[in-house]
């Protein structure tokens, strides 16, 4: 608790506060000690010299009885948090069935995305599946083709992890210039969750995967019956060229068939009752509503691996099996959705993640990339997981260009947009993991800008 004098509304009735003029509001301000009430709406707009002098009103909630237990059997966020929701972009997709919604990055704290705020990406809409009738079939190049109930799967040893899932189209609207003046829309195709389920390795062991198997694919029980090929050691593409060592030899080891997220069953939009989780990779590979795993000796090159999720390059060719989401980061405060309120002390906060392992360092710049300062990484720091970074900032009230640049444990440093465009062009759609710049104006507004000079 600090001893600084701050202003608080004397009457917590929101409408009354809203109706006050700034002058009458300040007249009613009173002196208090204690930093816990920093939420005071206009505190920072008052001059630093303003002092709270009027005795505090007793909050009406001190004088009533609240709700009893289980009046809301499954707890929900406060009604005052109703603005914290997933959102979609109407013009991005022709319907909301094969579409995407965005996580409100600006409102996330810590490293876990609440299940109800996890971004959604459906190709045939979200379906409701009865776990009693749902089955997982595992077959192909195996000694023993098998079928499992959900109860069967829960008898296997549990494997869990804190892993992000990111649609590789995260940021895709920004290749040709600034479009989305909101961190929810520039970066909200990513979420981070504690996933719980069965190790793929245990399932492979149970069915006896044959040594000829160099790929497997998962398939969903939704209207898209979505399928994606995942490499195993020895994997080669359809031209006979090997998949990279990292992709073929490490990705599969982390994979689970998940039945739980953040302490409870999967949400329907996230694949209830079971889904594949392929940590670090394009979320499209983490097939939802999973009904089948087939072990094979070649990729499918299915719709999701040719027409979509291939990256158009500046020479006209398309990259395929761009599986890993490379190191990325974004400042979530300040951001266009969370503006500044007067000069003084702040903490710059943000999230970083890498599909190749742990985040090693995050650097922050407030001068458009001329100078950088290493931020603090907030524990815990897990592999292929959101990592929270913070840096104290004394804002002088002048224009600033705020950026973050993450580095992962492989030494890969998050690139600039110019570096990506110089290498790939602007028609790639996917894997735009470049450094994001927010322009903070003297009036405290924050906007999305691009620095093409870097």
């Amino acid at each position: 608790m600090s001893d600084k004098n701050i202003t608080v509304p004397v009457n917590i009735d929101e409408q009354a506060v809203a109706n006050q003029t700034r002058r009458s509001f300040l007249r009613k301000s009173v002196a208090v000690a204690g930093g816990a009430v920093v939420a005071a709406v206009a505190a920072n707009q008052a001059s630093a010299a303003a002092q709270v002098t009027e005795p505090l009103a007793i909050p009406p909630t001190n004088k009533i009885l609240g709700r009893g237990v289980v009046s809301i059997p499954y707890g929900l966020p406060s009604k005052f948090e109703a603005h914290v929701v997933r959102r979609n972009v109407e013009w991005l997709t022709p319907d909301t069935i094969a579409s995407i919604s965005f996580t409100p990055m600006q409102d996330l704290e810590g490293i876990i995305t609440p299940s109800g705020l996890h971004f959604e990406r459906h190709h045939g809409g979200a379906v409701d599946i009865d776990p009693k009738t749902h089955r997982l079939v595992v077959h192909g190049l195996v000694e023993k083709p098998m079928i499992f109930t959900i109860e069967d799967l829960k008898r296997f040893p549990q494997k869990s992890g804190f892993w992000f899932l990111e649609c590789p189209a995260n940021g895709a609207m920004e290749w040709n210039g600034v479009q989305m003046d909101s961190v929810q829309f520039t970066h909200g195709m990513v979420s981070c969750t504690e996933w719980v389920g069965v190790s793929l390795l245990d399932i492979m062991k149970a069915v006896g995967v044959k040594k000829e198997a160099t790929w497997f694919f998962g398939e969903g029980a939704d209207g898209a019956a979505l399928q994606r090929s995942v490499p195993l050691p020895g994997a080669k593409d359809q031209f006979g060229k090997p998949i990279s060592d990292f992709d073929a030899n490490t990705i599969y080891k982390d994979i689970i068939v998940a039945y739980a997220q953040n302490g409870e069953a999967l949400r329907p939009e996230n694949g209830y009752p079971i889904r594949l989780i392929v940590p670090g990779c394009e979320a499209n590979m983490s097939v939802k509503w999973l009904r089948r795993l087939k072990f094979v000796d070649k990729p499918l090159v299915t719709y999701q691996e040719t027409r979509h999720y291939t990256d158009g390059m500046k020479d006209g060719r398309f990259r395929q099996y761009t599986l890993v989401n490379e190191t990325n980061s974004v400042v979530t405060f300040p951001c266009p959705d969370k503006k500044m309120s007067g000069k003084g002390s702040y903490e710059i906060r943000g999230l970083a993640w890498s599909g190749r392992g742990k985040i090693k360092a995050v650097d922050v710049s407030v001068d458009g990339g001329k100078t950088w300062t290493e931020a603090k990484l907030v524990d815990p720091v897990f592999s292929k997981c959101f990592t929270r970074f913070t840096l104290p900032w004394e804002w002088d009230g002048k224009e600033a260009l705020v950026m973050s640049r993450a580095m992962d444990e492989t030494g890969y440093v998050q690139p600039t947009l110019k570096q990506l465009i110089d290498e790939r062009g602007t028609s790639g759609i996917y894997h735009k993991n470049s450094i994001q710049t927010w322009k903070v104006s003297a009036n405290g507004e924050v906007h999305n800008v691009q620095l093409r000079s870097l």
Binding site: F156, Q179, S182, Y303, T306, M313, D315, D363, W372, P415
Partner: protein, 231 residues
């Protein structure tokens, strides 16, 4: 110990099968005794509908361009266009040719909106796979195998990939049909860019800020959907 880690060195070698079935000496080892049931391929068959790029998995049956036309016009044209030109924001069947799309890409022009089956789809068998499993959008898995062949055949025709309007498509025809973009793919070479972790004096001169709101949104997230910035 849970003997679940299949090591890189063991994988792909003859010891793999043995490793997978290794019985641990620990009483609490993770085996799968009594978990799940075995299942015959015959029982799996209704779900085993995946088709590989080389045609592996294509079923028996056939369908012609002529048979595909009424199916496409009734069930597909409202989204993909009467002539495959796309509609209402849904994908084109007939986009720019690979050659023209490549020219656009080399000129630095956007190619996202011009893609069709003719410009970006590697293999005809997986076109069949996708149509059978996921189309028509509003009624997936409602086409018979023959109807899926006919629809695939018609789409190949209106996408100008096959020229013969008398064509009858079956497994062998789809396997033999070379898609224009088949060789236009290559496997991920990333990491492809290398940024340095510079800490000071990193940028020369003042940063050039560009703001090019083309079709963007405002920062107003009071609504549940984004709205265009340019209004």
């Amino acid at each position: 110990m849970f003997n679940s880690e299949v090591s890189k060195s063991a994988f792909g070698k003859s010891v793999l099968a043995a490793a997978l079935f290794a019985v641990s000496s620990f009483a609490f080892a993770a085996d799968a005794n009594g978990i799940g049931k075995t299942i015959t391929e015959q029982a799996i068959a209704p779900w085993n509908i995946s088709v590989h790029f080389d045609g592996d998995g294509l079923p028996a049956g056939k369908g012609s361009v002529a048979q595909g036309e009424p199916i496409y016009q009734a069930k597909c044209a409202m989204c993909h266009g009467e002539f495959g030109e796309g509609a209402k924001g849904y994908p084109k069947m007939l986009g720019e040719t690979v050659e023209h799309m490549t020219e656009l890409a080399k000129k630095g022009e956007d190619t996202v909106g011009v893609r069709g089956i003719n410009s970006l789809w590697g293999h005809a068998p997986t076109l069949y796979d996708y149509i059978r499993r996921a189309m028509p959008f509003f009624a997936p898995q409602s086409l018979s195998n023959d109807e899926a062949y006919a629809t695939t055949c018609y789409v190949l025709y209106i996408a100008e990939i096959v020229k013969d309007d008398k064509l009858v498509c079956d497994a062998s025809v789809l396997k033999a049909t070379k898609m224009p973009s088949q060789d236009n793919f290559y496997t991920d070479p990333r990491p492809d860019v290398k940024n340095a972790r510079c800490m000071k004096d990193c940028a020369k001169g003042d940063p050039v800020v560009t703001q090019m709101a083309v079709q963007g949104v405002s920062g107003d997230t009071s609504r549940n959907v984004a709205k265009p910035a340019n209004h």
